[in-house]
Amino acid sequence: MKYLYFPGCSLKGTGRAYEESFLAVFKALGLEVRELEDWNCCGATAYMSVDETKSYALAGRNLAIAERSSDLDVIAPCSACYLVLNKTQKGLKENPELRRKVVNALKAAGLDYKGKVRVRHPLDVLINDVGVEKLAKFITKPLKGMKFAPYYGCQVVRPYSTFDDQYNPVTMDKLIEAVGAECVSWPLKTRCCGGSLTGTLPEVGLRLAYILIKEAKKRGAGAIVTLCPLCQFNLDGYQDKIASKYERVDIPTLYFTQILGLAMGLPESELGIKRGIISAEAVLAGR
Amino acid sequence: MNEQFEPKIVAFFCNWCTYTAADLAGVSRLKYAPNVRVIRVMCSGRVDPQFVLDAFARGADGVLLGGCHPGDCHYAEGNYKTLRRMRMLERMLKGMGIYDGRFRLEWISGAEGDKVKTVINDMTKKVRALGPLDLPGHFRDWDKELEELEAHVNKDSKKAEATHAG
């Protein structure tokens, strides 16, 4: 199976560990992944609220480039990119006036947009295209004895539920069980991590992140497993600030691709394990 | 001077489903294009393909056939026969130059008043864009051609007669 890959800005920056582990895991599974050429920033949530039409054109450019090169599915690991690209597809399909403007803009850049490419999430590809049974064959070092709290964040389930239930998604739960670990059951799977507010409005943002890490630890999770680079950053990167405001929690946050890679026996160095701010060493030492 | 062409569409609606749905559309005061004239039959299976051909031959620009959804026919299987006949008829009609939705088969249940409105509006729009079919006009033209040809042939033979007579 082959896929196109849209990294987005985060995966080349603070979310580097996500890119590393994603590429390593997919390679080890024999899934061919090719980075989209000349991709641009998707605009994330910010640009949509500044100028809607330009924002659709910006995101649409990536879709047009993808269509031009092949008819493969595009994998967008970052939740914001995933949502924005899907939202752009839908908006251009349902709004003919918007579509006309965007298509004209793209034409000026020598691009055409037909709306045929599919944008997928890597978790969706692993659980639905590959399947838990097939994955099991690759698991050589199951993470026995470890407890993970699956954290989905908001953008893969709201407003669209494309590959999982909106209130109680379970694809990552399945993955955690597939790697041999115990999945912690908790009701905050899709509760907001604070998003950009950890930076812009810390009294709100930090509190939201604090609630998540506190409850995960309270329920016995050794680490939180997530699928969004901003969620990972919020939960992992602000624990000092949270400690000074509320209390010290100390729980590492890993990407699902990282735990899958570990269970497949890939070396920690290829999975960016050391990039986490709160160290996962103690938790992973038990395996 | 040229008024916009308004298509004339003849419809055959089965009593139990589509006709009832059209009544429901009326009771609900839904508004739709006035181009359709409905002929009531008890079952869409009553519709002989000759009715469809006759409608086109007499000047219909479109023919709409409405029946119950497969599985729901009031007479158990009538609509299955309709489906078989009409699929074959469609191909025949295409060979005669009647296609692109001039003939349309729709399944509309008694509760789907809204669908009656959507189908009629959609079909009217599409047939209007296709323009008049005007088979009677074509028949007249062809008849006229034949008459002219006949006159031409007779003229020649009269000349021949005159020549021979002389």
């Binding site: 239930d165 209130y167 109680n168 059951s185 908790w186 009701p187 905050l188 609630i211 409850e215 | 308004e6 004339k8 003849v10 009593n15 139990w16 006709y19 009832t20 059209a22 009544d23 559309a25 009326g26 009771v27 005061r29 839904l30 508004k31 739709y32 006035p34 004239r37 409905v38 002929i39 009531r40 039959v41 008890m42 079952c43 299976g45 009553r46 519709v47 002989d48 000759q50 009715f51 051909l53 006759d54 409608a55 031959a57 007499r58 000047g59 219909a60 599985g71 729901d72 009031h74 007479y75 158990a76 299987e77 009538g78 026969k81 006949r85 249940s109 008694g110 509760a111 789907e112 409105k117």
Partner: protein, 665 residues
């Protein structure tokens, strides 16, 4: 193409009438113009317009004109034939004209009510009028066939609707067969503790009716049975019923229940469906002590003897009536009835479809039916409000509209949930003293004494919060939420978001059609609305009739309904069935088909087409023959006949071709 223009002089005299229908038609169609236009058409002897053609003076006008002007055909342009075709046929008959020399033109539902341009609507009316006038010339004089009506009735469904309909019919002297899928009648009502607004004990008012059914000499009760096949037509239905084996002889068992005590399973082990899974039963069981008929049954899934053949069968040994029969087989019965009443009830919404409420994830979340069993003195906890872990709740939250008024699940209002939520609030408070919170969108209390019941609850200290609960969560935001289930809701009257910690959550689940409603309605050849409930003939004027004559519907199978309305509707359905039966005969629409023998070429194309096997082939004459009694008038054979020798009355080829020509001239 048939050239079907009768000569001018031989045209039958047509009377044309166009109705104003008050302003319903006249406001969008220029009726005077149509009347004038029609008067100029060939064969039209009389052309009139009138305000209300269906009224007595309107009909009298028709009859008078027929006599005075020697009319031979009648056309009325008005509303839908489904409303008044019969009316004008009768008017024609009163004037001395065969009623089938009449054709109706629909210019109200199909024109005046659906178009917005007067000019095009009027043109359409003229086209349709012209078509009808052309068609009606080809009509033949016909007679309605009378068939006798079998006086027996079948009632399907043994809930309160079926029970009431069966009793009413039986009291009127008719022989009724009441079929119920479960092992006992009683339906959902038998599960309730008290009913709103009177707080009558449900069992107390239901069980006398159940006993009356059992005892009534005119009622044959077939429980644990289902209808497999329905054939025939109004007045003459043949129904095939499948009876599932109880492995106990019904006429021998007296319901002493010694066998249950004697069962090799010392403890009840299996989830009990009647108690919504909250209680346990043994493989030999009875649904509840007042079950009717009071006969035990064996569950083939859990009974050791039925599964392996290796049980010591202490149940059979304990039975001094020798009622056990481990070899009992499924039984097929055939019934002949004239009318059928469908009262198959509803299914409760599956709360798992609204995952935000945590049903199935949190043990403290219950559905309303589960609570009905908990508060019931004859339920699994003898009426004690106790959670699955044995604790007693100090605070209970009741969430209204679960699976109702919801774009994601069901859009409709289920009508009874506000009232039963109030009832449950009262009962829970009474039995446990817990704090009770009701979360509602609107409080719907439309029935007699319903609003007063709500008022009473307001005074009992139940807390009412107007807002749709967003989620049920076990995440504790503050220490006093530890170990609780928290309901997060926007209190729209107070204007802010609240978190209410409770121990027990009750989901007021809505009413849906039964899971097999589509299958059942196809078996009986009736329709369903888009939500899946059985379709009534007319929502206001014929709520218990269906589009299939002789089949009536009553109760929640038609739409969500409370008990008073269900009983009223069941009575109405019984009355309609009685009207049919007591008339003694039914007149069949004569739109059947027949073969014109001389024209039949014996190709046999028609024979396999008839779904009612009404067409046979006479091997001697080598001609097709149609049985008019079996023929239902679909016309499929007429359409297929290559020689045109099959004529469908009222829908002959000539009639339809002339209608086509009339439209397009």
């Amino acid at each position: 193409m048939s050239e079907n223009k009768p000569k001018q002089e031989n045209l039958p005299r047509v009377g044309f009438y166009i109705c104003h229908c008050g302003s319903n038609i006249a406001s969008m169609i220029d009726v005077a113009e149509v009347q004038k236009y029609a008067s100029g058409l060939p064969g039209v002897a009389v052309s009139r317009d009138y305000k209300y053609m269906c009224s007595d003076p309107g009909q009298e006008m028709i009859a008078k004109d027929i006599r005075e002007h020697k009319l031979e055909r009648l056309v009325v342009a008005a509303c839908s034939p489904n409303l008044h075709e019969e009316t004008f046929r009768k008017a024609a008959a009163r004037g001395g004209l065969n009623p089938f020399y009449f054709q109706m033109v629909n210019i109200r539902e199909h024109a005046a009510w659906v178009h917005e341009d007067k000019k095009s609507a009027t043109e359409k009316a003229k086209d349709l009028a012209r078509a009808a006038i052309a068609r009606v010339r080809f009509h033949q004089a016909l007679d309605k066939k009378r068939v006798p009506v079998d006086p027996n009735v079948l009632v399907v469904g043994g809930g309160i609707a079926g029970i009431h309909a069966a009793l009413t019919l039986a009291n009127a002297g008719k022989k009724v067969t009441l079929i119920e899928r479960e092992a006992t009648i009683g339906g959902h009502m038998a599960m309730f503790d008290k009913t709103f607004p009177t707080l009558d004990c449900a069992a107390c008012i239901l069980t006398p009716k159940m006993s009356a059914v059992k005892a009534h000499p005119n009622i044959t009760l077939l429980t644990y049975s289902e209808v497999n096949k329905v054939e025939g037509y109004v007045g003459n239905y043949k129904v095939t019923v499948k009876r599932k084996p109880r492995y106990v002889k019904e006429d021998l068992c007296v319901g002493c229940m010694e066998c249950i005590d004697a069962c090799v399973f010392k403890e009840a082990k299996f989830p009990d469906k009647f108690n919504q899974g909250l209680g346990k039963r043994k493989p030999v069981y009875i649904d509840f002590p007042q079950a009717t008929p009071k006969v035990v049954l064996l569950d083939p899934e859990t009974c050791i003897e039925l599964k392996t053949g290796k049980c010591k069968k202490s149940c059979a040994a304990a039975c001094d009536r020798k009622a056990f029969d481990f070899n009992q087989k499924e039984e097929i019965k055939e019934l002949q009835v004239g009318a059928i009443v469908l009262a198959t009830g509803f299914k409760a919404f599956d709360a798992k479809r609204s995952p935000q409420y945590g049903y199935g994830r949190y043990p403290g979340v219950y559905t309303a039916l589960e609570i009905e069993r908990l508060v019931n003195a004859s339920g699994p906890t003898s009426g004690e409000i106790v959670l699955r872990d044995g604790k007693h709740p100090k605070a209970v939250g009741i969430i209204h509209c679960v699976g109702s008024r919801d774009a994601k699940t069901n859009k409709w209002c289920s009508r009874v949930c506000c009232m039963y939520s109030l009832k449950l609030a009262h009962l829970i408070k009474e039995h446990s003293g817990a704090e009770v919170y009701n979360f509602y969108i609107d409080m719907r209390a439309p029935g007699k004494a319903y609003e007063e019941f709500y008022d009473k609850l307001l005074g009992e200290g139940v807390h009412f919060i107007r807002g749709r609960v967003d989620e049920v969560t076990d995440w504790a935001m503050t220490p006093d939420e530890e170990g609780k289930l928290v309901l997060r809701v926007e209190d729209t009257l107070a204007g802010f978001v609240r978190r209410i910690p409770v121990d027990m959550v009750v989901l007021s689940t809505g009413l849906e059609p039964q899971a097999d409603a589509q299958e059942v309605r196809r078996r009986f050849n009736i329709g369903c609305g888009s939500e899946g409930f059985f379709q009534e003939r007319h929502p206001k004027l014929a709520p218990v009739n269906t589009f299939t004559d002789g089949i009536y519907i009553a109760g929640a199978c038609q739409a969500p309904r409370d008990i008073p309305d269900t009983v009223a509707q069941a009575g109405a359905a019984a009355a309609e069935a009685l009207a049919l039966i007591d008339a003694g005969f039914v007149e069949l629409e004569p739109n059947t088909s027949h073969v014109v023998e001389e024209e039949c070429c014996g190709c046999k194309s028609c024979v396999p087409l008839c779904p009612y096997s009404a067409i046979t082939f006479d091997e001697v004459k080598k001609k097709a023959v149609i049985n008019e009694v079996l023929c239902k008038g679909c016309g499929v054979c007429a359409a297929a006949c290559p020689s045109g020798s099959i004529r469908q009355n009222l829908f002959e080829d000539d009639e339809i071709f002339s209608e086509i020509q009339g439209i397009l001239k």
